[in-house]
Amino acid sequence: MSPIAILALIIGIPSLLLLIYVFVRGSTGLRRYILTRIGLTLPMIFILATMVFLILRILPGDPVTSALGPKGTPEQIAHIRTTLGLDKPLVVQYGTFLWNMVTLHFGNSLVGGHRPILDEMSERFPATLELILPASILALLIGVYGGALAAAQRKRVVDFSLRIYSVVIYSLPVFWLGLMLQLLFGLRLKWFPISGRIDAVIGTGLKTVTNIYSIDALLSGNGPALLSVLQHLVLPTITLGLILSGVFVRMTRVNVIETLHCDYIAAARARGIRERVLIYGHALKNAMIPVITLIGLQVAILLAGAVLTETVFSWPGMGSYLVERISARDYTAVQSVITVFAMLVALISLAVDVIYSLVDPRVRY
């Protein structure tokens, strides 16, 4: 079983169970809402895929001649065009593309090893997942608690500092921040490794099952490998997590401040509940509802950030794969990765909306 199949099972089965649970136990309104959202997601994915297909074909240049370069003979060009079905009419190509997308047969890469794109993505996707999950957690930890702290300390030094932090960190280019962290913590202080997912030598002893190295190291009980994986995760996670945290700080701060003006907070305050409990125990919970929506919206930014972070840290994930394939004019791979990214964003948005509807019973279609 391929790593991506294992991952699909690990993520897919609990998600499916959760959806079934919500569907069975939820109210009629909730069921209708979920069905409507699923109904809207499918055409959205279809439109996105169609746009990707058309844009790549509108762009000037022929991918095959580009991939082969000046040394490509007419026979080689014709051979590859036939293999890829590029000699067929556009409508036929589009139909094949859609069918392949549905069946997850993305075809073979145009350059390099001409490997099946699904194989390449199944090797790369776990690396991206291993990066974006801790980065999201870090961004949420800093963002939510930073925002709440700023709200609690409103118009004081801490508040101003956190507001400045949120603007500055959000506007920093990811690659610049990554490079600075590499230079400081990797090159000068030598605290953390500069690149890759695991030490080259230690990595030779790691048996991979899921391709999420931290899980693989845990499964195989390989302590040095786990330590090395965690070390390699630090700088890219901080880079991506810090960049994302800025929006969460601002959003949480504004929502907590608004919530603090609510009647139930005034009532709680009148009952003598301590300010700290009010903010972190009562106001923050309600303020989190819009933040959940923001998480869904940030997924696209997270993936875009992952593209740059992975490139800077030579992290062999989907982002660096996309950059490599764009450079190589591997249109088949580019089309597949963008489609997968689009599907991922759409599905996570769907999941966030479902969670949102559970958290806030007022949300219904």
């Binding site: 000046p70 001409h114 930890l141 030490d199 800077v312 030579s314």
Partner: protein
């Protein structure tokens, strides 16, 4: 979540940071880690057509002939000697050494070897990277083994540079248990064995490849490390930082001039410069106006100052090129320098005025270039060329940029563009590979010949082009190297006179390594870790400590 959880999470995160900042034990000295910005595209010798793939293949397997490390000189490898060539130059016969085995213990016989080489002719052209259509099918008619010791190559046409082709990666002995006769196997499951000094123990095309010594290897290049790990980088900047920090021992091949300047100032690092075979030049289409006028192309050749490009754009990190054949290759000359002494604006003006051009009636020239394919500096040096040509006062230059996928076929197709920039890297380290492709059969868009059915060279457009074609044909079949060198010298003079293309500069390759890494003093160019102009990196020759 309450404050306690937050505090616990923060403390946990800090502890984790502290924990992970404790480095695991350093890698054993017996490991050598080589960083590269290349990727593995194919490990099948019947298919692979990329510098890095050839590097790996040449490390895990050997061929009948090979290059002496650090040079392009040939020597016998699996063959007992340099072989016998029939008087008509069509038959090459080699005798195999005794006792050669693959890494899994399978003996190599001539029968097995010939059968594996025949994959080049049978399934090779159907494989995706299709090296066979360039380096086998046009030259080799058949490969046979009359007995278990003898291999016979029957060629389609006599070519004196066949031994250079034979020394390359496509002609190494591939393992019949891994590379079957009827299928391409670009990414075989590890371990991947050959008859070379190393075998591939494991690899992941995106992260790293682990090579271990072949226990059955009996050749001269004995491994000096327990294992070699080739680590793949997507960004040369990150690779440069990694070699500085000591994460890798060697960083190999693609660095920008800025990175090299910075790395030169780092202690504990050495930089080896290899005058490799990557060249840049202008394609001039001899059937399009105004480049169909010999005076115009000569004026261009007279006006271009290569040193200004080298110094201003590349800070001296590339070298001026005065012939398509780079220095170090057989018969290389400075033909363009001798003929035009560029920059010589007076001479350029004379050529232009001889064709009726003047300040009032300048020659209108369009120069095309791909802004992204050869790096960001391309636009800068195209601007330099524009200024140099316009300094004659009699040429008006328009620069046109086009994305590579449109640009390459348009330029080399020989119909759309009059002139444009292109790069070249040899398929085999021989002068013929720097001249023939630009002259024969439309010459990559130069159009000094027109293609003809059944002809390998095409029809020359004028007498000088015919002279050039004849000389190159003669050189291609001449087996006496001194005579070949002389023929190439003559050919380069005519090439420069015709200005078939305009060579501009050649790029050196760079290997950056830490101070505890050494090349072998038993072979040439230990300072470049014995990597020679053929860009073959033998991992066995490097030593750590």
């Amino acid at each position: 979540m309450n404050r306690k959880i937050f505090v616990a999470a923060t403390v946990g995160a800090l502890m984790m940071l502290l924990l992970v900042s404790c480095k695991p034990k350093a890698a054993l000295a017996a490991n050598i880690i080589i960083g590269t910005t290349d990727k593995v595209a194919s490990l099948d010798s019947a298919d692979a057509y990329a510098v890095h793939d050839w590097e790996v293949i040449k490390n895990i397997s050997d061929g009948l002939l090979t290059w002496k490390p650090g040079t392009t000189d040939l020597e016998a490898d699996l063959a007992t000697d340099m072989g016998k060539i029939s008087p008509d130059g069509l038959t090459y016969t080699y005798t195999l050494k005794n006792g050669i085995k693959f890494g899994d213990g399978t003996p190599l016989t001539a029968t097995v070897y010939a059968a594996q080489l025949n994959r080049l002719l049978t399934i090779g052209p159907k494989c995706p990277n299709d090296v066979a259509d360039t380096l086998a099918v046009p030259y080799v008619k058949s490969i046979t083994a009359p007995d278990d010791k003898t291999i016979v190559f029957q060629l389609t046409t006599p070519i004196a540079f066949f031994p250079q082709i034979l020394a390359g990666a496509p002609y190494v002995a591939s393992d019949p248990n891994i590379f079957k006769a009827d299928a391409c196997n670009l990414f075989p499951t590890a371990p991947v064995y050959g008859v070379g000094a190393w075998y591939i123990d494991s690899y992941n095309a995106d992260e790293q490849m682990v090579l271990k010594p072949n226990p059955y290897y009996t050749g001269p290049l004995k491994p000096q490390a327990k294992q070699v790990i080739v680590r793949f980088y997507s960004d040369p900047n990150t690779m440069a930082l990694a070699v500085q920090s000591g994460e890798i021992d060697v960083a190999w091949r693609l660095f920008s001039p800025d990175q090299l300047t910075q790395l030169k100032g780092v202690s504990k690092l050495s930089i080896g410069t290899i005058n490799g075979g990557a060249i840049r030049y202008l394609i001039l289409n001899h059937t399009q106006k105004p480049f169909d006028d010999p005076n115009v192309v000569k004026a261009i050749a007279s006006a271009v100052d290569r040193n200004e490009i080298v110094d201003k754009v590349y800070g001296g990190q590339v070298n001026p090129l005065y012939s398509m054949v780079p220095p170090g290759f057989l018969g290389a000359t400075d033909a363009f320098d001798k003929m035009y002494g560029a920059p010589n604006l007076d001479a350029a003006k004379k050529y232009l005025e001889a064709s009726g051009y003047s300040a009032a009636n300048p020659a209108k020239i369009e120069l095309w270039y791909p802004p992204e394919h050869y790096g960001a500096s391309t636009a800068a040096w195209m601007q330099v060329i524009k200024k140099q040509l316009e300094a004659t006062g009699e040429m008006q230059v328009t620069l046109q940029a086009q994305e590579w996928s449109t640009y390459a076929p348009a330029l080399t197709g020989g119909k759309a563009y009059g002139a444009g920039v292109l790069g070249w890297f040899f398929d085999y380290p021989d002068s013929s590979n720097y001249l023939d492709p630009f002259v024969f059969n439309r010459g990559e868009g130069t159009n000094v010949t027109t293609p003809q059915e059944g002809s390998l060279t095409g029809i020359p457009i004028n007498d000088k082009a015919k002279q050039l074609v004849d000389l190159l044909n003669k050189a291609d079949i001449e087996t006496d190297q001194a005579k070949r060198a002389d023929l190439y010298k003559q050919a380069q003079d005519i090439y420069a006179d015709l200005v078939v293309t305009l060579p501009l500069f050649y790029q050196a390759e760079h290997v950056v390594y830490r101070s505890d890494i050494k090349g072998s003093s038993a072979y040439a160019t230990a300072e470049t870790l014995n990597i020679g102009p053929n860009i073959v990196f033998y991992y066995s020759l490097i030593k750590k400590g």
